[in-house]
Amino acid sequence: MSADMSATTLDHPLKIRVRELYEEYFACLEAQDLTAWPSFFTEDAVYLVQSDQSHRSGLLIGDIYCDGIAMFRDRAAATANTSVHARQTIRHFPGALKLAARKGDLVSSTMSYLAVRSVTDEAPTFFSVGRSIDEIAVNGDRLRFARRTVIYDHDRIDNSLVFPL
């Protein structure tokens, strides 16, 4: 299969399955189900959250970095058990989905998002907006992120990024 195969030639059911993955992923985040969060990633997945500016500069460090499933589990456990933060709800609105190419069992995908945060006693804020560039493993029992890079458009985070994006 050619690496630069355009999204339009991808079989329609795959695009539906990818969209479902994002919907399930965002539902997991909205439920703040940290125990389930790592299950959306492959064993050797790499996850990075950083600003568009950092991304364009090719910088290695962002706000969150997980390399291997153990780090996902550690972040989930630490956030659930040791983090002190104000009660908050974050809604994730998926935007345009673009499937770029399929290489063997990996599909490259770009998805824009809007995250709106409501913190106790405060008006909701457009807390983060941006896109993710993802590689999705399509083999196995279900789709999983093998690589997920969340790139937010703004330069800084308002206070904290308690939960993953």
């Binding site: 959250v49 969150i64 985070i157």
Partner: protein
Amino acid sequence: MQQVNLSESRNSDNSPVRAWPKDDVSRVPYWLYVDRDLYDRELQAMFYGPTWNYVGCVDEVRQPGDYKSSWIGERSVIVTRDHDGALSVLENACSHRGTRVVWCAKGNGSRLTCPYHQWSFSLKGDLVGVPFKRGLKGEGGYPSDFDTVDHGIRKLKHVERGGLIWATFSEDPPDLETYFAEALPGLDRVFSRPTRVLGYQRQLLSCNWKLYIENLRDPYHATLLHTFYVTFGLLRAGNKFLLGTAAGGAHSVTVTENTGKKEKDSTGEIGRFGEGLTLADPTLVTPIPEFADGKVTGGTLHPSSVMHQQANSIAIRHLVPKGPGQTELIWTFFGYEGDTEEMTLRRRKQANLFGPAGLVSVDDTEVLKFVQATAESYQDHVGLVEFGGRDTADTSHMLSEGQIRAFYKYYRQVMQI
């Protein structure tokens, strides 16, 4: 209910009295984090005064023509590397009408050109181009005595040391060595080898800049708020610490040891302690041995910088005040030139503890927001800073707020309150 004596706590115009509540520094009034006039005076006396402020590092302006924008207090500044290799720190304000000249975080070029009237400046800030300087066909333009030499962008005094660039608005600052005094060896210890920027984290804290400085001088909270540290064995209340201050309290120096081992003795008082939690990937907190002394160091460098070296994470945190109740924090993470891939990976992993999503730092960000909220609504109240006594002496344990008191001793002298 305690009666409030209005004649003592209010001025004639009913505004709260702005006097220090006690003759020592074991009390800190909450208006200190709220008062706009005081904040403006702090900017003048501290951020724009005879102090040294972190504005960037040589790795960010490595190539000839590189420039970056940075901050001192609320003021934007530009750091440049000219084609002859010289570094300059300039006001980011056109000498014509004040327009911000550099609008982006980083760039490269041979000139800085103001978009408003196309005045162009050398990378050293000298004015080199003025459109229609002598008018057009004998009409208009600048008077005959107008000389571009008189209208460069203001250049700030700056010093590069260990790859870090420090600048000041003062024309007559103390030399850097005198200024950082006893805090300098700790800085030199970490920044003695060529460094590379690995990345940034930026966040807007909902608190006064001094609350963040206090937080870093507050070892009392470290094992109590940050159960992460205790749970995963990075810190316990019985850890040996050196809590020192420098230059009369202006800066702080904190040294401890990363024992990397969980002990149960002093964790009994911590209610949220997650018994039985272990890390699936211990490299998140475990350092590759790097410093011969095995120590973990950090410190506040008055007024706008913080240095940390924890495990293999090395960073400068840059405080950019945005009004009395908000402070931007810009974290620059470093590695050393020649780091192995394994070391770079470790530094990347350990950055997870810090910044807006930091497994440790989130706690501070969240708590400080609620300290500020109280300060704004209870301005006549005072905070208690009496843990470990009322003096400002260095200690060899972490059960003291002495570094906070030392800061306010220094602060009161500078601010004359």
